[in-house]
Symmetry: C2
Subunit: 247 residues, 2 copies
């Protein structure tokens, strides 16, 4: 039986999702817990490869098992073995050919910016700190340039192995909740570091290093050198993965 697990994790102490020799990864930590619960070593397939330091609220992954455990009982058994900075929040059955990356219709990421005058002791691990007040309305208006189908080649770090760089952004907003500023983006897919470069470019606009009016031309240029810096990983959180629930 193929099961889909939903994971929530604090990415601070993980070197991202994917197994790498000699470092602590989400994938390997989960595989260890599955082996502890089921007695069998199973390969786990993730919905994406999140970077080191990136967090997840609802990361999806699948594995095949003969274990009779399901639902909250399976979650509880896995969480007993998982470290405190990671938890399984849902376990559902999927068809044997279901693939959490290829069948994802889209994802939503949120990037948090703590915009208080002083740093925040708790949000320090989950939000970038910018003490200069951000003009959220202006950034929200600028972010509209990201919406639509574009070649995001200029918003992609080297090292990606994907085919094609055209993606469709269906939603992109900048909002404020008190001193916290949230950049929220939904797309049918994301290139390597795409969200962090989108945020870094908006921050360059906020600082006056780039003009909001130039953002469409920067996108169209497909030139990484014209976009902004890659914002730090720790502000980023994978919030949701969308699937066709008939699959």
């Amino acid at each position: 039986m193929r099961l889909q697990l939903t994971l929530r994790y604090d990415g601070t102490a993980f070197h991202g999702w994917q197994v790498q020799p000699g470092v602590r990864t989400v994938q390997e930590t989960l595989q260890d817990a599955i082996e502890a619960v089921t007695g069998v070593r199973s390969g786990v397939i993730g919905c994406s490869r999140t970077d080191a330091g990136v967090h997840a609220d609802r990361f999806c992954c699948t594995f095949d098992t003969d274990s009779p455990l399901r639902g909250n009982k399976l979650c509880s058994a896995l969480n007993f073995h998982l470290p405190e900075d990671m938890a399984v929040t849902e376990a559902i059955e999927r068809p044997a050919d279901f693939h959490p990356r290829y069948q994802a219709l889209g994802k939503r990421y949120v990037y948090r910016i703590w915009n208080g005058a002083q740093r925040h002791p708790i949000y320090a691990r989950y939000a970038l700190h910018r003490n200069r007040p951000l003009d959220v309305d202006a950034l929200h208006a600028a972010a509209a340039a990201y919406v639509g189908t574009h070649d995001f080649a200029g918003f992609c770090s080297a090292g990606s192995d994907v085919q094609g760089t055209v993606r469709t952004v269906t939603r992109c907003t900048v909002t404020r909740q008190g001193d916290m500023v949230l950049f929220t983006v939904e797309a049918d897919g994301f290139l390597y570091n795409m969200v962090r470069i989108m945020v870094g470019t908006l921050l360059d606009i906020a600082d006056g290093r780039l003009a909001a009016a130039d953002l469409p031309a920067i996108l169209a240029s497909a030139d990484r050198a014209r976009a902004g810096a890659t914002a730090p990983a720790h502000g980023l959180c994978l919030q949701e993965v969308f699937y066709d629930e008939r699959s």
Copy 2:
């Protein structure tokens, strides 16, 4: 000049506010930072003695200094020297006889309970986890018994040195934000462990070990043995201290 600092801290790695030999405390950590910034060792007076593990969003304290630094410049200088789990968010002048504990008109605490089916990797340090669904409306109705002027002797751990055990609770609510349940209480003062025993008693009501209808009698008995257990420290956060702003 007497200055009042507002502190935000993650209490996880502190043994509470008050200086104690051989352990890391908020008071001593702050005094070290003040000495680093001003060159003078100053005693800092706090608005209360928060317990080990308790967090603070706006803890108030005062110290006397000849330093010319004020406002955000002083905050930034102190935060440069403070560890990541603690920050000064405000610095204002107060009269020379201002005392942050004696002149506090009241305080607001919030106790967080993560009520999701599975534990939460990020809230693990800031909220008690209870997986059985809490009936927030019933608990809110029960908590109304705390409001008013009562002798809270039964809601006080041994070891307190305060005079008198009568306090006036002006607000006490239980609310839900998704899977997070918030217990919020404002009073003119709090006894040692009072909020944690108030929460523990409500959780005993939620579990059926105590009846909501008996809460007025439990309060009136002033008998610690009749109230519930002391809820764990890590769910508790000092949210606000109220002063007469003319002082």
